[in-house]
Amino acid sequence: MKEFDRVYNIALAGNPNVGKSTVFNSFTGMHQHTGNWPGKTVDNTQGEYIYNNAKYIIQDLPGTYSLNPNSAEEEVTCEYIKSGDYDVLVVVLDASCIERNLRFAVQILKAVSCKMIICVNLVDEAKKKGIEIDFEKMAELLGVPVVAAAARSGVGMTLLKERIAEAVSSEISFGNNINSESEINEKNIVKKCCKFTDKFTDKFDRKVDKYLISKKFGIPVMLVILAGIFWITIVGANYPSELLTGFFAYLGGKIKLFLNEIHCPGLLCSALVDGVYTTLTWIVSVMLPPMAIFFPLFTLMEDSGYLPRIAFNLDSLFRKANTHGKQSLTIAMGFGCNACGVTGCRIIDSPRERLIAIITNSFVPCNGRFPMLIAIISMFFVGAYGKWSSAFESLILLGLIILSVSVTLLMSKFLSGTFLKGIPSSFILELPPYRRPQIGKVIVRSVFDRTLFVLFRAIAVAAPAGLLIWVIANVKIGGISILAYCTEFLDPFAKMIGLDGAILMAFILGFPANEIVLPIILMIYLSNGTLSEIPDLVQFREILVQNGWTVSTAVCTLLFALFHFPCSTTCITIYRETHSRKWTAVSFLLPLAVGLAMCFLVNAVLSLI
């Protein structure tokens, strides 16, 4: 480790969605997630970079519109900016929306005496919109260095580093031109240094918005887009899934042979292969392909700027549920991961509405649950539809998603009518310009950061869980395995809600990670049976049917997969966000109660038919 005698603190501040995280990533080489919507960064992130033998510690602050905080989180950011607890403050501005951004910069200059550098980002976008900026003039008027940048393509980043280096070493103070009585404001700066060559144009965005957020077509188009994403995921995942299953089955056989060859004790061999190996490979072959397709698609949507438009389309529904329109953004994040969705609820300012959004977040299925839903749907509901089956499958999945969002809305309304009474707060949403997603980057990042992360987490849980199941399935008391005791104990209760002991047991054991529920069900059934090969979906269906699965079981399992307790990571996150055991318990019990009630009713109705 090299020691640096000079260490400087840099802070990145600015309005939401101006590209602070992109600058941050470009400096540090880190991969802080970026997305084209205001509120993407809710956490302070710290990173560092080396420039000219000095170390710079850089803080990526969440975006704020002004120094007058509107929420607790914003207050932390504003206090930090005001504290001057850094060597240089870099204020990132969006060139395409320069007046509003300058207002914030001027406000900081008037309120805080610190070394400040202005980075006017997105100049490429502004240019396309016909905005020309005289940066030298701006620097002169503001009395601080101004750097023009297009952080996404790396333009201006070296210059910005250089300016920061100059700023930390210089003794001169900045912002002399402006004090609190100064006449300078954003309007006269804009007048003096910006030229709007073409009458401000965002024709393309407005044209696209005519459809995507149209009064009539907004919601239908959104459903079509969602269905399309599901369809691509299902169709695209099929083949690699089969390939992987076949490969792992072949490899499993070889491993068994090899273990026999080296005279590995039969019991250990069985524990390793039938227990750990089967569970692990199942997760990889069934979970990995859909995740590796869904995550990038979702990130593309996020990158393009469509996400806030979803919030726009659905706001009326949320208003009727007495909650915040931004809840649809946290729901969308929940599709990726409920724990992320819960953290994302910080974008909601009102504490009451934020709590509702947190409690109801796990009503939407996360990525860990999607593959389970897809597998069950394809096994039990679409077998007979030939080449239309994947389209049909996506529609059923879409139906489930609509169901889960509807339940979210209903439960939100229920909460805001009972425990969390209140009127909906105002809702202001910025619709960012559409941006061409960085496709290559998105794919690489979402595969490496998200898919592999989720996969490793699943594997870390699955290996011991596989072993545990094998042990309790094989340790016998009085001729009956512990597992059989457990499942039999759960069975009568589980039957009431249309499941069976094995399924309920799998959901309980799947508390640390929902990804492992299906493989556990499989293992429990297999531990009583004779099959030892990893089955494909057709064989899997056979196994389930042999163990008493009917369409009604499948429906109830789907419903329970949608509505049960959130996974352990989500629960921990909820506690961290709410600091309340009571609300964590509510978040745990509410979806569980909904799931139990729904399964009970559906089972009762289906058994009448």
Partner: protein, 80 residues
């Protein structure tokens, strides 16, 4: 009609509006000001969402959506 003062939710699509005032009872008045909804600013009312809310407006170069109930507390003069 030209000089009649109305509220933002009453304006029609693509109307350019001069903001005459924002009701003090609006809890987000401060935030709206920061975003460019202040007296004397000229904004452009764009589309409206699925069930009549929210209302998208072009404000100092950005597109901002407000709920129609909030827009009812912003009085504007439609410039024709």
């Amino acid at each position: 009609m030209t000089d009649a003062i109305t509220t933002l939710n009453e304006a029609s699509e693509n109307d350019r509006c001069l903001i005459c005032g924002v009701d003090d009872s609006l809890p987000v008045k401060g935030r709206l000001t920061e975003l460019g909804f202040y007296e004397g600013a000229v904004i452009e009312r764009l589309q409206v969402g699925s069930f009549g809310s929210p209302i998208a407006c072009r404000v100092s170069g950005a597109v901002i959506a407000v709920r129609s109930s909030d827009a009812g507390k912003i009085s504007v003069k439609v410039l024709r």
